[in-house]
């Protein structure tokens, strides 16, 4: 049972993390293509059309893998997380289905016309097609993050004992979930930043090589402009996100910041230290006074809850959940008395905490004191991985923001092109956004443990009734298949990025004009 849960999680993490390498780039490049093509339509200059087409080629190579790995996600809830699908499909299925209708259809139907419609459509109509593709990707992210936001902070739902599942109570609560809104904007900005850093890096490489200078300069400038604007929103919304985490997911916040004890307000921020998970403390801390209190509570007088404190609170919630669990069967069979019904309703919001006990005992009513304490301790995600991945994310985001601001500043002053070190820095920064989004995903989703739906459905109950060996087999198949396709994708991406705009065969660029390398 344990093995099945672990391997299912591993498979989900693997397939989602790989999918999330392609999605942010799709989001970012689609925006950049809209900017470039708008410049073409506005100025009529051929070079902007060439830019749209060339970066569009790289976009296509990436997009194909996004579609491949995205298909898995649509199937995987059913194949590997069947109990989750039954338990929350009434709510979670809604944003997924609307995503299909409103966004994925739009993006996928117009993407073909983006590539094959250049000669069949007027300039303006083609730009409209490009806008619709970008709109589709953006709306897609919106609905997926509404779904994910609900897993983090499940609003607008009630438990129905007769159908043994969560049911949708308020669509507007689901839609306007503050966690979802902030996550959407934060993730979207991170995607835009990824696209900008990608174009910036490859353009810098052409500049270093002294190839297709005019093309590269303009691409670099567009990327720096887009990147600077979205850097601001990534950071602002990252901060907003932190505020919501502190409010709605205090366990996650405590793990991210390694807050073992509730400290006097305003709490200090630990920059770095040696995490000792067993002793429940951090050695050799480097602290900045006041800062955490300000970020997490936006005040000087509110406390930030510590892990030990949260475990005590959650132990009470486990006990409270058991009160609801006790009457679950009679509620389901509609045989509860008025008194039993009242107790059930009073405690039903803690039912999920009682379900945590199922990891240790078949029937939670027979749980020992030790089991209850263990279940309460389980509500805190592992501290060290959370602490460090979060810091990597913040460092990467800040570094990229600096790079973007400085690039834009020097482009505007006309001095960027002489700074070879800046070009080198821009080029070598290409892995940064990908590292940033991957660790960002990890912080959000690993930090949700031990739940699939925060406070309501434990991860270890959410899987399908499969054999661990089945899932091991599929995990191996996924690793082999994705590695093969990813290698092919990278091979083509490198080939076309090296080729540069000469890949368009217009006769105007480096490898076709026989220009010498004048760097």
């Amino acid at each position: 049972m344990e093995a099945l849960v672990d391997i299912s999680r591993l498979q989900f993490a693997f397939t989602a993390l790989i999918h999330f390498l392609f999605v942010p780039l799709t989001l970012g490049l689609s925006l950049i293509l809209v900017v470039m093509e708008s410049l073409y339509v506005k100025t009529g200059q051929q070079i902007y059309k060439d830019m749209t087409k060339f970066w569009g080629k790289l976009f296509a190579i990436n997009f194909a893998m996004g579609v491949v790995t995205g298909l898995t996600m649509e199937f995987q809830f059913g194949t590997n997380w069947a109990y989750y699908s039954h338990y929350v499909g009434d709510i979670f299925g809604v944003p997924l289905a609307i995503e299909g209708m409103m966004a994925f259809f739009l993006e996928s139907t117009f993407i073909g016309l983006f590539f094959f419609g250049w000669d069949k459509l007027s300039k303006r109509k083609h730009l409209m097609v490009t806008v619709l593709v970008a709109l589709g990707s953006n709306l897609s992210a919106l609905w997926i993050l509404i779904a994910n936001g609900w897993m983090q902070h499940p609003v607008g739902t009630v438990f129905n004992p007769e159908t043994m599942r969560m049911e949708l109570d308020s669509f507007s609560a689901l839609l306007f979930n503050p966690v979802a809104q902030v996550k959407f904007l934060h993730t979207l900005s991170a995607g835009y930043l990824t696209g900008a850093a990608f174009v910036l890096a490859i353009s810098a490489w052409y500049l270093l090589k002294g190839r297709d200078i005019e093309f590269a300069k303009r691409s670099f400038a567009v990327a720096a402009a887009v990147g600077s604007v979205v850097s601001v929103t990534v950071i602002m919304l990252g901060d907003e996100s932190g505020y919501h985490v502190a409010e709605f997911q205090p366990e996650k916040m405590a793990a991210i910041e390694a807050i073992w004890e509730t400290e006097e307000a305003p709490a200090p921020l630990t920059l770095a230290g040696v995490i000792d998970e067993n002793a429940g403390e951090t050695h050799m801390k480097i602290e900045i006074p006041y800062v955490l209190g300000l970020i997490a509570t936006r005040s000087l007088d509110k406390e930030v809850a510590g892990i030990k404190n949260l475990v005590e609170i959650n132990e009470q919630r486990v006990r409270s959940g058991l009160q609801a669990y006790k009457y679950l069967a009679v509620m389901r069979d509609k045989e509860a008395t008025e008194a039993e019904r009242a107790i059930f309703i009073e405690h039903v919001n803690d039912l999920g905490y009682a379900l945590l006990l199922k990891k240790y005992v078949k029937n939670p009513m027979q749980a020992s004191e030790e089991n209850i304490q263990q279940a309460a301790r389980d509500t805190i995600p592992k501290v060290a991985p959370m602490f460090w991945t979060f810091r990597v994310m913040v460092a990467v985001g800040s570094a990229l923001a600096l790079l973007m601001f400085y690039s834009l500043f020097t482009v505007m002053r006309g001095t960027a092109w002489n700074k070879r070190w800046l070009m080198r820095a821009a080029f070598w920064a290409i892995p940064l956004p990908f590292i940033g989004v991957e660790v960002g995903w990890f912080v959000a989703e690993f930090g949700r443990q031990p739940w699939t739906v925060y406070g309501m459905l434990p991860t270890h109950l959410s899987t399908s009734s499969l054999q661990a060996s089945d899932v091991m087999g599929s995990l191996i198949a996924f690793v082999l298949m994705y590695s093969t396709l990813f290698s092919v994708e990278l091979f083509l991406m490198f080939k076309y990025a090296r080729l540069g705009p000469s890949a368009l065969h217009t006769g105007r660029y480096h490898f076709e004009t026989g220009a010498v390398n004048h760097a």
């Binding site: 194909a64 299909g100 016309l113």
Partner: protein
């Protein structure tokens, strides 16, 4: 808000529309993929086939993604039970579908013949395997699959992958393959010319004939050999969704009951046969009409299976009374209502812009066009 019973019926129709929509819209892409090595011999011929569907296949595939999403939202218990129960089969379909997005986009980006031939076979598998396996899955639905629930509504599937490959299910797989090949071939009649069109015509005739024969055999088998399912208790159409509130028995020929009680339902199998007959007789004269006829045939065949099983979606062979119905495996009334509003808003918009895109991209794909656009065509 509409009453629960009507919403449940409407959602059965809507899911049927989405799945038939997939069979019609992406069905011909799967068919063309299957035909790729047979109808097109040289590199340029293959590029004609690939570019005939290249710009639109991605949008078409969304019918499947949306179908899965709609089943998740409207019938969560079915999404959970069917997808996890048929684990290996679902993954086989998924892995085959992986080959298409990359196949279309990457194949012609490198000139090496080995590279291109490899992708051609990948595209062939990406078309053929889903066409067969989806049919096999449906063949198993018709016979019932071994699953049951515990008191927390967790589903347990007690069969294996090999059990899915029984004779009737394989027959259903071939019905599905032949009808989609027919549908792909008629699409090629519209989009190609010359020798490719000629080969496509031959393929459409062979496939149409095979479809007629295999579909008839399957129908005869259903009526006389396969145990269908029948509800013997009273169903409360308004009750909360639970698989424990009814009694079901299995008996040979039970899938014919709906046709006996509602003779209008014979329209579906008749459409299935008539469409294929038209393809057989008129394909060479009227390609467009022929494609519509094969689409009608696909609709009729899928519709026959759906109507025969109504109101069953996923019957259980080991615990027939826990079979999942379109009455007792749905989401809440609230969710069905919301989703209906969303579908009413978005489906017409989707149909409108899909039609516009096909109109912009109308016209035949020729070898000359491919040569002129060597670096931009797929």
């Amino acid at each position: 808000m509409l009453d629960y019973e009507s919403l449940r019926l409407i959602w059965w129709i809507l899911v049927a529309v989405l799945l038939v929509g997939y069979a019609i819209m992406d069905g011909f892409d799967l068919g063309v993929g299957t035909l790729l090595p047979f109808v097109a011999k040289t590199d340029i011929e293959r590029r004609v086939l690939i570019n005939a569907i290249g710009p639109t296949w991605d949008g078409n595939q969304v019918w499947l993604v949306l179908g899965a999403g709609a089943i998740f939202a409207a019938w969560p218990a079915i999404y959970a039970t069917a997808f996890s129960g048929m684990y290996v089969a679902m993954l086989v379909v998924l892995f085959a579908l992986f080959l298409r997005p990359v196949g279309f986009d990457y194949r012609s980006k490198i000139e090496s013949p080995i590279w291109r031939t490899t992708w051609d076979y990948a595209l062939f598998l990406g078309g053929m395997v889903p066409a067969v396996v989806i049919g096999v899955a449906y063949g198993n639905f018709l016979q019932g699959v071994p699953f049951h629930f515990d008191e927390t509504f967790r589903s347990f599937y007690t069969g294996g992958f090999i059990d899915l490959l029984n004779p009737f299910a394989l027959l259903a797989g071939f019905v599905s393959l032949s009808m989609l090949v027919m549908h792909g071939a008629t699409f090629l009649l519209i989009k190609t010319e010359g020798v490719i069109q000629f080969r496509a015509l031959k393929a459409s005739r062979i496939a149409a004939l095979t479809t007629i024969v295999l579909f008839s055999v399957a129908g005869f088998w259903i009526a006389n050999g396969i145990e269908g399912f029948r509800i013997v208790s009273v169903i409360d159409y308004q009750a909360p969704s639970t698989p424990f509130a009814k009694e079901v028995i299995m008996e040979v020929g039970a899938w014919m009951n709906n046709f006996h009680q509602h003779p209008w339902m014979w329209i579906a199998p008749l459409l299935g046969i008539a469409g294929a007959v038209i393809v057989l007789l008129l394909g060479h004269k009227k390609p467009g009409f022929s494609w519509i006829a094969s689409g009608a045939s696909v609709t009729g065949i899928a519709g026959t299976a759906g109507l025969a099983m109504f109101p069953f979606i996923l019957p259980s062979s080991t615990h027939p009374s826990q079979s999942l119905l379109m009455w007792d495996a749905t989401s809440s009334q609230h969710t069905l209502w919301l989703m209906l509003i969303a579908a009413a808003i978005f489906m017409p918009i989707i149909l409108a812009y899909t039609a516009w895109v096909f109109r912009v991209l109308r016209g035949k794909v020729t070898e000359e066009q491919i040569r002129d656009n060597e670096h931009t065509a797929y």
